[in-house]
């Protein structure tokens, strides 16, 4: 007996949907492959943390730091993609999920890892982030922020940190910074500070972290904890969100049930959001890091389909995510320099 036509139609639709779902990551991979390089830290086959670069589709992975005697982590390309900052500490020390920006010493290298050298000693130039022109870094210490000239190593400006305490990122136009602050009635707020006036405003006051700027500096992408009733050992789950730099227009970018989404980083052209999907609350840098992934920002709001999540976000799209290797704190540049021979 032939199946009813409606069943055949349903089956056809379902098969087409499955085919589309499996083809989608392939299409996304093809789309992003030529768009520069992603740097990230990950464990090497020798067990130490190294700085790697790969094409944005996960291909052509290469070791940039090549230093098996040290733990190398927290890579940051300069905005022109020609230089690379990361932190380094003796092998065997544990990379902290919260304090990685102030562990070890700051290293400066060409974007392909060549000519790596220390900038200062242990615990100096903590939470360093690039100026737009790549000539200065902004650092964060208990005494406050400091802007340091990379050639002279001199502090050219310092100012109070006003509650900011980790993960600062300098805006693409150099006019502001965004970071994690305890100054807005939650311990882990995302806040923005104008560098001309030192005025700060909250961007999001839920439990938040790992903020990054959109390419035009108008919006912030960050991790935000979904309100919860104590599941996952009392920690709930963390999602990717976005908001205007003034805190207005907060909206979901991407959520999963069963993984924390951290390490948000916007592609240089502003079209994609890169993240790590962590099973463990702390981002798991003490072990292997977590699988990275990326999605088109235009596809937001999106969720990895799950009944509980669909109840929370009934209007969200079904996510189309490109899965990438395991790593920690990824960073994307449109420059081809990271792929050049050392």
């Amino acid at each position: 007996m032939a199946p009813p036509l409606s069943f055949v139609g349903w089956l056809g639709c379902a098969c087409a949907a499955v085919a589309a779902a499996s083809a989608e990551p392939e299409a996304l991979a093809t789309e992003v492959r030529p768009l520069g390089w992603i740097a990230f830290s990950a464990r090497s086959p020798k067990g130490d943390w190294e700085i790697y670069a790969m094409r944005p589709d996960g291909s052509d992975k290469r070791n940039l730091s090549n230093s098996p005697d040290t733990e190398d982590f927290y890579p940051l390309f300069s905005r022109d993609g020609l230089q690379l900052l990361y932190r380094s500490m003796p092998r065997g020390q544990t990379v902290s999920g919260n304090d990685y920006g102030r562990q070890g010493r700051l290293m400066l290298a060409r974007a392909n890892g060549a000519e790596a050298h220390a900038v200062g000693g242990d615990g100096e130039f903590t939470w360093a982030t690039w100026s737009p022109d790549g000539r200065q870094i902004l650092t964060l210490q208990p005494k406050g922020f400091a802007i340091v000239d990379l050639v002279s190593k001199q502090v050219v400006r310092s100012f109070p940190r006003a509650g900011f305490y980790q993960q600062p990122t300098w805006s693409p136009d150099g006019a502001a910074l965004v970071g994690v602050s305890n100054g807005f009635n939650t311990g882990w707020s995302i806040a923005r500070m104008e560098l001309a006036t030192l005025r700060a405003n909250a961007v999001s006051v839920a439990d938040c972290c790992t903020p990054d700027w959109s390419a035009n500096g108008e919006r912030i992408v960050f991790s935000r904890r979904r309100p919860h009733a104590g599941e996952n050992g009392g920690y709930g789950w963390t999602e990717l969100w976005q908001a205007g730099a003034d805190g207005q227009g907060a909206a979901l970018v991407y959520a999963e049930d069963g993984r924390h989404l951290y390490g948000s980083h916007v592609s240089p052209d502003g079209r994609y959001v890169l993240f790590t999907g962590n099973l463990r609350e702390d981002g798991d840098p003490a072990n292997q890091g977590a699988p990275m992934g990326l999605l088109r920002w235009a596809d937001a709001p999106a969720i990895a389909e799950h009944p509980r999540l669909r109840q929370v976000y009934p209007q969200a799209k079904a996510a189309r995510v490109l899965a990438l290797p395991a790593g920690h704190e990824p960073c994307w540049t449109s420059s081809q320099a990271p792929g050049l021979p050392r």
Binding site: N98, P142, G144, Y165, Q166, N182, N185, G187, D282
Partner: protein
């Protein structure tokens, strides 16, 4: 039997572990103060994310500094769910004291430092947000009084 009794009495009368003297030069302020309350949600167990919580005290006596009896002060305690003697770490540095848990109404002998930003970079729980201005102290040592 008498010997056992004597040994037992000796144990009972023996002094306990010597209590560390309160340092005279720790921080910039030394007070005895009464913890006025522990607001709901101010102290909670959280292993993965260290935090400090701000608690409200009323000064009883001041040995160092310019605080007056009756004055209200706000004090940040690091990882307040831990006994003070076990709270110090690389992030918070020198934290200590004999207080094992924060209980409203208790009197504490405190060594304090300020400003808070100079001593602590991290998550902060402030159930008094918007209700206090000026100095927030960082608790270096908190002894039961």
């Amino acid at each position: 039997m008498a010997m056992v009794a004597l040994v037992g009495l000796g144990w009972f009368l023996a002094p306990g572990p010597a209590r560390a003297p309160f340092p005279a030069d720790l921080g910039s302020v030394e007070v005895v103060a009464q913890l006025t309350e522990v607001p709901a949600g101010a102290v909670f167990h959280r292993e993965l994310y260290h935090y400090a919580t701000i608690l409200r005290y009323e000064v009883v006596t001041c040995a160092r500094g310019n605080l007056k009896p009756g004055e209200v002060i706000y004090v940040a305690h690091y990882d307040p769910w831990k006994p003070r003697a076990e709270a110090g770490d690389a992030r918070a540095g020198q934290i200590g004291g004999t207080v094992r848990a924060f209980v409203a109404g208790d009197r504490h002998h405190l060594a304090l430092a300020s400003p808070l930003d100079d001593h602590y970079m991290g998550g902060l729980v402030d159930k008094y947000f918007g209700q206090h201005a000026g100095v927030t102290y960082w608790a270096l040592r908190t002894d039961a009084e």
